[in-house]
């Protein structure tokens, strides 16, 4: 019932957008949409809530403007598509949206979209324009995450026990809004940026030994995973610990989970977890476990990224992070999580993680 209502509301919001544009045309005005601006300049760090938020700057997107007409059409197309999906209560992946939009304008060589990045952007823009989430628009991202642990959930009527799914674990869907947590024995969650490390921990049954859940994605966490982590963090009050390589890109993965990202600043409140902690790999771990021999030299762009990162509002005043950035800059190279295997096959599960968690050896 609740879901029904949500769908009707989304349909109403979309229709309002369409009616507003038609009204522009009736009034002989250049049809337009108000698009909140999504760049660093219109994003700020909310000190109180400790998340990145979107500012109030918007720009007008006009149909009769040579520079806007393409994006205007793409956004209208996505709106039409979403409305159809809501009508028939079906979902589409971003890839499918791309194919649904991909066609050539009659009597021209202009394609409505050339690459998926354009349709993806149009989806994000529509979210901003309507304040509707992609999930509410029935558009899904590709799933790219795995979970295991002492957790039982209910998804589409099926009971799923994350501890009884063999070596593959549970494949996280792109839309986790409707899952229910049935029985949760885990005390915390470890998120890691690498599937290989997840497999290591899963094989070693770390989640069983330490009573936790382990969740992984490849690189930057997708929205579905972030939303799952956020729900578990918020609804189940489970602390979230993050494991990444010791390099600027790894630190930024942690940063996005904790404070939100610039491009999705409009939904930081639904995704960011200001209480998330950085578990490793830290500069101190490298010294402590003598991993210096595994340093992979930085390239120019890594150093550039590191400098950008250290200037972000949410990092620049933190003593611990300043120290980490200095260690990273001094060693002029990264160390990957996988390097821990040089200390022993199960070193990470037997010693590294348990010790760190026991000693509360986190960086905040």
């Amino acid at each position: 019932m609740k879901k029904m209502k949500k769908r009707q509301e989304a349909k109403k919001d979309l229709k309002e957008l369409g009616v507003k544009i038609v009204k522009d045309i009736d009034n002989e005005m250049n049809p337009s949409m108000d698009v909140p601006i999504r760049t660093l300049s219109n994003v700020f760090y909310d000190e109180k809530n400790k998340i990145i938020k979107l500012g109030n700057n918007t720009s007008k997107r006009y149909f009769f403007n040579v520079a806007h007409v393409r994006k205007f059409t793409q956004t209208a197309e996505v709106a039409a598509l979403a409305k159809q999906l809501l009508d028939v209560n079906k979902h589409m992946s971003l890839r499918e949206v791309y194919y649904a939009m991909r066609r050539t304008l009659p009597n021209s060589d202009i394609d409505i979209v050339d690459e998926q990045i354009e349709s993806n952007k149009a989806v994000e823009d529509l979210e901003l324009i309507t304040s509707l989430l992609r999930e509410q628009l029935h558009i899904n991202a590709n799933k790219l995450g795995t979970a295991a642990g002492r957790v039982v959930i209910k998804d589409k009527g099926d009971l799923i026990d994350w501890s009884k799914l063999g070596s593959g674990g549970w494949s996280i869907p792109s839309n986790v809004e409707d899952l229910e947590f049935k029985k949760v024995d885990a005390k915390f969650i470890i998120y890691m940026e690498k599937a290989a490390i997840w497999e290591r921990l899963h094989e070693d049954k770390l989640w069983d030994k330490m009573k936790c859940a382990i969740i992984a994605s490849q690189g930057q966490a997708t929205r579905g995973i972030r939303r799952l982590l956020k729900r578990m963090n918020e609804e189940l009050k489970l602390p979230v610990y993050v494991l990444t390589d010791f390099d600027p890109w790894g630190i930024y993965i942690y940063s996005v989970l904790k404070t939100g990202s610039i491009s999705l600043a409009h939904i930081s409140g639904r995704l960011a977890m200001p209480e998330a902690k950085f578990l490793g790999l830290s500069g101190d771990d490298i010294i402590k476990y003598d991993l210096k021999k595994h340093i992979i030299k930085f390239k120019e762009r890594d150093i550039k990224r590191l400098k950008e990162l250290s200037k972000y509002d949410w990092f620049k005043n933190k003593k611990d992070w300043k120290r980490q950035f200095k260690l990273m800059l001094d060693q002029r190279g990264k160390v990957e999580l996988d390097a821990l295997v040089s200390k022993g096959i199960t070193f990470i599960s037997d010693k590294y993680i348990p010790e760190k968690i026991e000693n509360k050896d986190f960086i905040d």
Partner: protein, 527 residues
């Protein structure tokens, strides 16, 4: 011993005997007969130039028929017929059969040819390569005379092979010349069709029909208006060279140098004559014949030193902006035409004028260098483009300022044809082939000024055209998006898409109330 001794008389005779033929043979390349392709072009050119000149002088709208027919390997029969005044029977053989004979050589007036070699040179070339006589038909409107003629190269005299008189019931007048020669006919590059096309541009009041080996081409008449006939002038003291001054002094009929100077030159009056004699310290009553070399040097120097009014310029006959535009329009498929005719100017005491014309757009290739048509006294210059002051002037203009691309020092790139016309009583050709104009700074400056003037007008046209094009592009861009966006918006708003489509089409046609938003071409946001 005796057979080794050659008498001075005999030697002299031998030298004389070979003079004209040898001159021609040795200077073939200078006269435009250095290869078969060029030779055919030169023959046609000499005949056509002569025909148009004759018509113009008589005030007749020129009708010129040119025919080039292949009669053997490397053999061509060239026929050129005009509707000019014709030449009277007595003068006919000399006019064609004697080199350096002509009415134009000793006078100072703007004309196509000046040296008296032209057609006779062509005849000599025909004779040298085929050994056959040439045929001339002429009438002044009464009877028709038909001559077969060869040039006696020993005596430099016409040799009439046959002569025929015919009745002329149709009152035809004009000249028809037919000759066979060794040549090569091609149509690409600097060849007969290109020469005739350029001639047609520069003489839009002429009708030229060309029966080429590959078919008939007609260059039609675009106007009945003919440019004013130029007046003859006397040389201006600033422009006279020492040798010419001496020759003039020897040939004059005047009794004393005072009269010689006043009658033989323009812009020399009572005061200037006295100034000259004062400066040169020569007795003004001396006979011109008696002037010594030193006298002439002093006189020449004095003539160059004193202040004189610039020469009169009514000796020049510009084609005029209107006729240039007409000429370009009828032969070049372009969108925009502009002509500039500059007021006369003077280099070294010689009056000259410059005219330029530009054709832009249309069928002209936008990706290649501009086409350049050079003319001197209405005659196309076909060769030695790189050495010519007109080319250098075009290259010296910064065409980028006028909306074209250009590598500095080269011709501009774009859909452009440039016409430059140099007019003078004495054209400073770089060689006897008369294909390039010498680079006097005054000439280059004038040509550039004319081109810049035309360039400024072209820039206005190009920027308007660009704007028009942008508006069109913009219109068609929105036209393409409207049907799609109307369907999408209809799905979102549940308003029928036909209604939305009509609304948008109306806005496209009539503009919106907040139109300023359409003009900002910048991107809407930083993302």
């Amino acid at each position: 011993m005796a057979d080794k001794l050659i008498g001075a008389k005999e030697l002299g005779k031998e030298l004389k005997e070979i003079s004209v033929a040898e001159f021609f043979e040795k200077n073939r390349h200078l006269l435009g007969y250095d290869n078969n392709t060029k030779a055919l072009l030169t023959v046609v050119k000499e005949c056509v130039d002569n025909s148009i000149d004759a018509c113009e002088e008589a005030g007749i709208l020129p009708d010129v028929n040119v025919s080039v027919k292949q009669v053997g390997e490397n053999r061509f029969l060239v026929k050129v017929e005009d509707n000019g005044p014709g030449i009277v029977e007595e003068k006919l053989p000399l006019a064609f059969g004697k080199l350096l004979y002509g009415s134009k050589f000793h006078r100072l007036r703007q004309a196509r040819g000046t040296q008296g070699i032209g057609v006779s040179g062509a005849i000599l070339y025909s004779q040298l390569t085929t050994g056959k006589p040439i045929k001339i038909t002429s009438s002044t409107g009464k009877g028709i005379i038909e001559l077969e003629l060869m040039i006696d190269v020993i005596k430099n005299q016409p040799n009439i092979i046959s002569s025929k008189k015919m009745k002329n019931p149709e009152k035809w007048h004009g000249i028809k010349i037919e000759m066979e020669l060794e040549g090569r006919y091609i149509e690409k590059g600097q060849t007969v069709p290109e020469y005739l096309k350029e001639t047609a541009i520069m003489n839009p009041y002429a009708k030229i029909v060309f029966n080429s080996p590959n078919g008939k081409i007609t260059f039609s008449r675009a106007t009945k208006e003919m440019p004013r006939l130029p007046k003859e002038i006397k040389p201006h003291p600033y422009g006279v060279e020492l040798g010419i001054l001496r020759r003039m002094a020897q040939m004059t009929k005047e009794k004393n140098i005072k009269k010689f100077l006043r009658k033989g030159f323009s812009r020399i009056g009572q005061t200037s004559v006295q100034q000259i004699f004062k400066l040169a310290k020569i007795d003004s009553n001396k006979k011109p014949m008696d002037l010594t070399h030193e006298d002439i040097v002093k006189l020449h120097k004095a003539m160059q030193t004193i202040k004189l009014v610039a020469p009169p310029t009514d000796c020049l006959s510009q084609l005029g902006e209107g006729l240039i535009e007409k000429g370009l329009k009828k032969e070049i498929d372009a969108e925009y035409f502009i002509a500039i005719s500059r007021p006369p100017s003077v280099y070294r005491g010689r009056p000259f004028a410059v005219e330029v014309g530009l054709s832009y757009g249309g069928n002209l290739n936008p990706h290649t260098k501009a086409k350049l048509f050079r003319f001197a006294n209405k005659v196309p210059l076909m060769y030695h483009k790189g050495d010519c002051a007109l080319t250098k002037s075009v290259q010296g203009v910064d065409w980028r300022r006028y909306g074209l691309q250009q590598s500095s020092g080269y011709l501009p790139i774009g859909p452009l044809a440039i016409l430059v016309h140099f007019i003078s009583v004495w054209v400073p050709f770089t060689s006897e082939g008369k294909q390039a104009i010498a680079s006097y700074p005054e000439i280059i400056k004038e040509v550039k000024l004319a081109l810049q003037d035309a360039g400024r007008k072209l820039r206005i046209y190009i920027s308007r055209r660009r704007k028009r094009h942008e508006i069109q592009m913009r219109q068609s861009l929105f036209e393409k998006y409207i049907p799609e966006v109307a369907i999408a918006l209809s799905k979102v708003s549940d308003v029928p898409h036909e209604k939305i489509k009509k609304g948008l089409e109306n806005l496209l046609k009539r503009g919106t109330k907040n139109e300023e938003n359409e003009k900002e071409a910048g991107s809407e946001e930083g993302s």
